[in-house]
């Protein structure tokens, strides 16, 4: 028997006893009794409730099932450990109830699924027709229909969850021409009002283009110190917008230029951190242009990681330093000098959150160290060649043809003994005589080709016959290039028949044999057959298609009887 989930003491109906939580149900046995008085399967557990008073009580509600109405059981947990027992029981029951609801929610007919199906049907007219003819009429169930079309649903779900990211275009900020018709653009623009429209797209683009502007934005507008209008007014006045245009530094045309430039200047300088161990311009190894996407540690890609900088958050530096000191001491104490040595080597690895990456990175560091030493020795060409030669990309030399492993070669090549040897034995006298004559004729043959004559009587007929054949070929070729579109109704009927047949054959091969469904499918197939007859009478051109369909239907009918 599997180990019980939980066992604890509890009182029920004023009797002392023990609660026992098994794999599929829980039970309560009163003291002294061999059999449990109460058994509750987990699937029926509906809810549990507790009280706040001195006595530690837990009420478990059992849903109505198997004839018994909804009942609740009250358990009192005795001291000691009354609260702990109750908590643990509640935890177990919470798991159980979660499982219960999960099985319900796993049913496929959630609202979202329904929505997706509707969307697919709206998009695809052919599928909609098929759906209407089969599912709405009740021949094929909804689940069956969609079971073989899961890829549609998966794709639609994916499409729904796709969100467009922010636009990547770099917008060019231009003033709106407020009065297009009235007056030419003023020569100096000092008195004119230029209106700028800053939409979200524009803002995102600007902030992405100019990091100092972004820093300023974060410091002022995001914190509420400055309004957006004020900020962007400064922006427009500053050099970022003016970009060396004529009149940018002219104080008459651009009054706020100097002040705005100063405003942004404060944000331009990145903090010069002594604690940042990576220089601002990171070391860039031009030698190896290959990107190592598999590297997991700090030195990934070509250049060393400049995003995680030690001391990036100034305020937390003292804390981090202390933390590192303490953890190093602890590790040294526990693992000995070896760890300390490697820890010291990797001591310069970036540690942003203060998490000690030091010794954890030691094994990884050894690996990347290997790479580095390799890179120094090997020239770049071989490096690229090695990295870009992939097994899969190499053109496979065509494997030599493998002979077919035929089981019984003699049976394969030679006929079965019941072969129709009635191809005509030359046994009877007539053919024998004929063969003798044939032999004699060949033996007496004196070949003199110069005297061979061709009968001219039939020459013209032969020519005419050959011409007919060639004309037919030409006509067929011309006809083949312009094919008529197939009859739509026939195609729709054909699709429906395929769907029905698919349901028929899959349900036959499955273990669960549903008589009613089969009968329904067969009835629908018969209906399709009748429709095919009617259609054929109307349009004899689609006869081949319908013939093939009928043969398949007949086969299905024959198998099912």
């Amino acid at each position: 028997m599997a180990a019980p989930r939980l066992q604890c003491r509890a009182q029920c109906k004023k009797q002392n006893g023990a609660l026992f939580f098994g794999p599929k149900e829980f039970s309560w046995t009163a003291d002294g009794k061999p059999q449990p008085d109460l058994r509750v399967p987990y699937t029926t557990v509906k809810a549990c409730a507790q009280n706040k008073s001195e006595k530690v009580i837990l009420k478990i509600t059992q849903a109505a099932h198997n004839g018994s109405p909804e009942t609740s059981h009250v358990f009192t947990f005795p001291p000691p450990n009354a609260h702990e027992s109750r908590e643990s029981v509640k935890a177990v029951l919470a798991d159980v109830m979660k499982e219960n609801t999960a099985t319900v929610a796993a049913s496929k007919d959630t609202a979202e699924e329904f929505q997706i199906r509707l969307e697919i049907l709206n998009a695809n007219a052919e599928l909609r027709e098929l759906h209407k003819s089969l599912v709405v009429s009740g021949v094929v169930s909804e689940d069956d229909f969609w079971a073989s079309r899961r890829h549609y649903i998966v794709y639609q779900k994916f499409v729904r969850n796709q969100r467009r990211g922010p636009s990547g275009t770099i917008v060019d900020v231009r003033p709106q021409q407020a009065d297009a018709g009235g007056g030419s653009a003023p020569a100096n623009g000092s008195g004119s009002d230029m209106t700028f429209k800053f939409t979200d797209n524009v803002v995102t683009s600007l902030l992405a283009q100019f990091p100092p502007v972004r820093r300023a934005y974060d410091a002022t507008v995001a914190t509420g110190k400055m309004t957006k209008q004020e900020f962007f007014r400064r922006f427009v006045e500053s050099k970022y917008y003016q970009r060396g245009r004529p009149g940018s530094n002219n104080s008459s045309t651009n009054p706020g230029a100097v002040a705005s430039n100063e405003f942004f200047e404060t944000y331009e300088n990145e903090d010069d951190d002594d604690y940042a161990l990576h220089p601002k311009k990171a070391r860039f190894e031009r030698r190896n242009m290959l990107l190592d996407l598999g590297a997991v540690d700090a030195e990934s890609g070509n250049r060393p990681d400049a995003t995680m900088r030690a001391g990036g958050v100034r305020a937390s530096l003292p804390l981090i330093r202390q933390f590192n000191r303490v953890s190093e001491g602890v590790l040294r104490a526990t693992t000995g000098a070896g760890a300390a040595g490697s820890g010291a080597k990797r001591g310069d690895s970036p540690a942003i959150g203060g998490v000690g990456v030091n010794t954890a990175a030691a094994p990884a560091g050894a690996k990347s160290g290997n790479d580095n030493t390799n890179n120094d020795e090997v020239p770049a060409d071989t490096l690229y060649a090695r990295a870009t030669e992939l097994e899969d990309l190499r053109i496979e030399a065509e494997a030599d043809a493998k002979p077919l492993q035929i089981g019984d070669v003699s049976a394969y090549f030679h006929s079965a003994p019941t072969e129709g040897r009635g191809a005509g034995r030359g046994g009877d006298a007539k053919t024998l005589g004929g063969q003798m004559r044939f032999q004699a004729g060949v033996a007496a043959w004196q070949c003199s080709l110069a005297e061979t004559k061709i009968d001219r009587a039939h020459a013209d007929t032969v020519l005419a016959q050959l011409n007919i054949l060639t004309r037919k070929r030409r006509r067929d070729y011309q006809r083949a290039t312009s094919t008529a579109p197939p009859n739509k109704q026939a195609a729709a009927l054909h699709l429906g028949a395929i769907e029905l047949l698919r349901t028929f054959w899959t349900s036959r091969s499955e273990a669960s044999f549903d008589e009613g469904k089969m009968a329904g499918v067969l009835a629908a197939l018969a209906d399709v057959g009748k429709k095919a007859d009617a259609l054929e009478r109307a349009d004899p051109a689609c006869r081949p298609l319908l013939q093939a369909m009928r043969a398949a239907l007949a086969r299905a009918a024959a198998v099912s009887t």
């Binding site: 191809a423 030359g426 063969q435 004729g441 043959w445 009968d455």
Partner: protein
């Protein structure tokens, strides 16, 4: 691309089934004379040889129980041949003369073969074997002429009925011909008492992009041959040649070698059977039985 240096190789497979030809000779409507047919064939062959200097030729006889090369013959033993070699008449082109002589003598030998009793000749012809011989000869010529491209085609003069027992070897030969881009052209004689509809030969010409012709007027065979089968493969895309349009795509089942039109196909080795079985006899794959 056809260049002037292409070598055209024509391999002719002549169906010399005595029973069929005997039946054809005694047909009331349209009797066939084997000798006359062969003469017309020889004229056609001479025409082929005369088109270009380095056109190649091979002739194979497909008899009831064997296949034999009629031309080119293995180098004869000099001692035997020296005596009875007829001298070449003055106004005959040597190449033509050689071919004609070889064909006539070998045919006579073949038909007159005293080894097999004539009563034992069944109404069949070893087409598959002859096709295999032709293909190997073509392969040999191709390898011998690696520098020039060899355009090869096979012409079958057929009168015997199909042998379903030979379905598999025939189809193998056809696919091999397709692989080496050899066209298979077929001339089919049919009348009331001889030759019926062939099932495998139209498939052969269909797959290999050859020409299949029924010959209603056998006495004018030469006209058919020169009109339809003389142009080399590279010329065929410029000309519009007659062809049988409807092809019967039936196959023979692998177990009993009967011709079937609906059957079961093994999804692993693509062999065709007339009845369902648990295990494919060819590739030994086990299939779960349907319930």
């Amino acid at each position: 691309m056809s260049c002037a240096e292409d070598i055209n190789l024509l391999a002719v497979v002549v169906d010399t089934n005595p029973a069929a030809w005997a039946a054809a000779a005694s047909d009331p409507d349209r009797p066939l004379d084997f000798v006359k047919i062969i003469e017309q064939l020889l004229i056609f062959i001479n025409a082929h040889l005369s088109l270009k200097f380095d056109n190649e030729l091979a002739i194979i006889a497909s008899h009831a129980d064997q296949s034999q090369f009629l031309y080119p013959l293995p180098p004869a033993d000099p001692l035997d041949a020296a005596d009875d070699e007829p001298s070449k008449p003055a106004n005959v082109y040597k190449q033509f003369f050689d071919v004609d002589r070889a064909v006539v003598s070998k045919l006579k030998e073949l038909v007159d073969d005293k080894r097999t009793k004539s009563a034992e000749h069944e109404n069949r012809s070893m087409v598959a074997g002859s096709l295999a011989l032709a293909l190997s000869y073509i392969n040999r010529i191709k390898r011998a002429n690696e520098n020039n491209s060899v355009q090869s085609r096979i012409l079958i003069l057929s009168i015997s009925p199909d042998l379903p027992s030979q379905y598999i070897p025939t189809m193998n030969c056809i696919f091999a011909a397709q692989k080496v881009s050899t066209r298979i052209d077929v001339c089919r004689f049919s009348g009331r008492k001889y030759g019926g509809e062939s099932v495998f030969l139209p498939q052969a010409s269909h797959i290999t992009a050859g020409i299949y012709l029924d010959i209603p007027e056998p006495s004018n065979l030469l006209q058919y041959l020169l009109y339809t089968f003389l142009p080399e493969p590279s010329m065929r895309k410029t000309l519009l040649l007659p062809h049988k349009d409807q092809v019967d795509f039936r196959a023979a089942c692998f177990c009993h070698k009967n011709v079937v039109d609906v059957g079961y196909v093994c999804s692993v080795c693509l062999s065709i059977f007339c009845s369902l079985s648990k295990k494919c006899p060819t590739c030994q794959t086990v299939f779960p039985a349907p319930k």
